[in-house]
């Protein structure tokens, strides 16, 4: 690819980026930051190329660290974003749901993941 093509891609990508990102509401800015953060982990590809086509020991060391860093960035970033967004995706429950009769099918699996600080008001 020649430089001019690459610059063209860069400029167009910047405009697409600004268009798409500016439509994300404030509510989702933390997951957005975390998700785009995961996306720049794509530098992992560079690490893979360095090690995969490399041929000296120092290069291997640098490359393996780069691969590990990039993988942390990708895996951690996407997983943590998924955790955050899972909280938003949860269906709002009707406020007085102490009895069983509601029509909501109920998903005990996802509702169970809730840390501490529950149930002190009922006592």
């Amino acid at each position: 690819m020649d430089l001019i093509t690459e610059i063209t891609i860069f400029v167009l990508a910047a405009f697409v980026g600004f268009e798409v990102i500016s439509k994300v509401p404030t509510t989702l800015h933390t997951p957005l930051m975390s998700q785009t953060n995961a996306i720049h982990g794509i530098v992992l590809l560079g690490g893979l190329i360095v090690v995969g086509f490399g041929d000296d020991a120092i290069e291997y060391v640098i490359g393996v660290i780069a691969i590990a860093f990039g993988t942390i960035n990708i895996v951690g970033g996407f997983m943590v974003t998924d955790r955050m967004l899972g909280m938003f995706a949860r269906k709002p429950k009707p406020p007085a749901s102490s009895s069983e009769g509601s029509s909501a099918p109920g998903d005990p699996g996802s509702a169970g993941i809730r840390p501490e600080a529950e149930g002190s008001s009922e006592g």
Binding site: M1, I9, F10, A13, G17, F18, V20, K23, V24, T26, T27, L28, H29, T30, P31, L32, M33, Q35, T36, N37, I39, H40, G41, I42, V43, L44, L45, G46, G47, L48, I49, V50, V51, G52, G54, Y60, G63, V64, I65, A66, I67, F69, G70, T71, N73, I74, V75, G76, G77, F78, V80, D82, M84, F88, A89, A96, P115, A117, S120, S121
Partner: protein
Amino acid sequence: MPVLAVIEPGGDLAVVLYIVAFSLFIFGVRRGTHPTTAKQGNLIAAVGMAIAVATTLLLDGIGNWGLIIVGLAIGAAVGVVASIRVQMTQMPQMVALYNGVGGGAVALIAWSEIRHGIALGEEIPLDQLVPILFSAVIGSVSFWGSNIAFAKLQDLIPTKPLAIPGQQVINALLLAGILAACVALGINNDDPSQGLFVGVLIAAAVLGNLVVLPIGGADMPVVIALLNAFTGLAAAAAGFALDNVALIVAGTLVGSSGTILTLEMATAMNRSVANILFAGFGGAPAGGGAGDGEERPHISIGAQDAAIKLAYADSVVIVPGYGLAVAQAQHAVKEMADELEKRGVTVNYAIHPVAGRMPGHMNVLLAEADVPYEKLREMDEINPELPRTDVAVVIGANDVTNPAAKNDPDSPIAGMPIIEVHEAQQVIVIKRSLSPGFAGIDNDLFYEPNTSMLFADAKRAAAEIAGEITEL
């Protein structure tokens, strides 16, 4: 494993697969515009990433599988464990850490690229060398800067702004030195000195430390967003050096996102990005702050009074701030709101753009406590409704509710957009003391005749109020 290696590097198939990958990134971010589709969007982007990685692993001629697998395994293990164990309140430092390792990876790849170029013994074309140098400098700044941001948010080092005498001069000299060294490397692109290149990496590392160290903990989110943009651009630069279209587009996408978020946060704090980065705000007590030591009259109430005010209101707006996050009070606040809703009180939440430690951080914390996102109202949306609101409850927020920002043109925070709780019929402020907020100035709201102060820890206060409401 030559059987696997089927894709020609730089060939059409590889490029097409990379295009598929970055299209999925863009599509994934686009799905992130609504809470119900964002989770799916994140998954789509992750699939794009898997395609990009798989394509690279299948390139013809790639070897050293053992080393690659070691790197991938270590990274995946750390990433999985960290992302499962992190608490939602710690999200800003987690993002900082992930951002840092990304920046570190870019810098290392740049180093390896230049070593490779030197080893070949040929002239490194400038359209490769310039992006290599850019990604090396920015990657290194981002790695060290993010680590400092992480350490500050995790309270590993003092979060107060650290004033280093003459730091502006030192930073300027470092930057000038880095630029000069880069120019020297560029002029000698037929045989660039690796020693000089490593010197650039180190100088950029020092610069990253020095720039972020003096910034106060409360400004860290802006720094993280900015460093996120930097790492993205560094990744795009690496894409130029490696002729990889996926890196260029993905990196640019992140660069745009980080830039938008940085500017938005700066606007919400009514400060320029330069001011945040270089002013060491919040260090010295800001001039013009009212009441040095003198006690001003205020109304103090207990949980029971607060419960009565709230329970007999028609509409309540809760204004959560950073103090709520620190006290981990989101669940207790949600319980209090549940009790009120059982009595037919309308409860909404007013979220200032910089509530929490990151834009949107408060939304995540409240979502964690099962508050439906429809109840999380943005500042511009809720402000017109506040005059019709019976009670506004400010929990752990301070500067973002200070009417001085609107009424006092001499105030240091004059012009900062605020949540206009003073317009509400009554205000209850839950706070541990009358101490000034991050801006170091007194909050006039506390002394308004319709404001009641409830001095307590946010979590305990919310739980007590919830308890009192059930007794009514």
